[in-house]
């Protein structure tokens, strides 16, 4: 079956430091990967959509300088939260889209706590 592994599951970092998270698609080809942040209030924000061989499209309020994303092939994507501060805390989720079915598959998320 189609699975998405996301790691690390949780990170605690000091203000001003960075956190990198990775996403691995297994059992399907992820033609696009969407990175989301879920706030402590459970609201989802789309950070960016990455499609292999296309430019990464960032949503308003999110920039490549702050959230650089790599999507080198159809099974792997990574995102870094640079210079993390309190407002960056939340659960970061990658949603990998199957090129075959169009369905989104999610990893278990990476929870970021900033001290």
């Amino acid at each position: 079956g189609a699975l998405v592994y996301q790691y690390p599951r949780r990170t605690i970092c000091k203000s001003g430091t960075s956190m990198r998270m990775e996403c691995q698609a297994v059992g399907f080809q992820a033609t696009s990967v969407a990175w989301y942040r879920q706030s402590p209030q459970k609201t989802f924000e789309l950070i960016a959509l990455s499609t292999v061989n296309s430019a990464i499209k960032y949503e308003q309020n999110f920039t490549q300088e702050k959230f650089p994303i790599s999507h080198p092939n159809l099974s792997f994507s990574s995102m870094t939260v640079l210079n993390a501060y309190l407002e960056d805390r939340g659960l970061y989720l990658c949603g990998a889209r199957s090129g075959n079915t169009g369905q989104l598959y999610f990893g278990e998320g990476s929870k970021l706590t900033v001290l």
Binding site: S32, A34, G95, R97, Q103, G109
Partner: protein
């Protein structure tokens, strides 16, 4: 503004009863996906629809095929294990982004 309006935000059901969740879209959407988020934060996919209806056990989902402006998730004979937070995510017609609703927190009461 929000493109996906999900209702209700919270719902309590007695075991054995039926109910429905709804997502309205401010614009035409290409597809919709429903998820349940468990206590660990994992998003479990329930349905993915580009049109029509799908059914799986006690769950059934529909996506308005005509104007593509709403979707519903029906829960029949609610069980305790159905408790959790349900989200719909709709795909816009443009850049293939999926936008999430704000979720429905469902509690099933014995």
């Amino acid at each position: 503004g929000d493109q996906v309006e999900q209702s209700p935000s919270a719902l309590s059901l007695h075991e054995g009863t039926d109910s429905a969740l709804r997502c309205n879209f401010t614009t035409t959407m290409r597809s919709v996906q429903w998820f349940r988020q468990n206590s660990r934060g994992s998003l479990i996919s329930l349905f993915y629809l580009a049109s029509g209806t799908k059914e799986n056990g006690r769950l059934k989902s529909a996506f308005d095929s005509k104007e593509r402006r709403y979707s519903t998730l029906h829960i029949r004979d609610a069980q305790l294990e159905d408790s959790g937070t349900y989200f719909c995510a709709a795909e816009g017609a443009g850049y293939q982004n999926f936008y999430f609703g704000k979720g429905t927190s469902l509690t099933v009461i014995p």
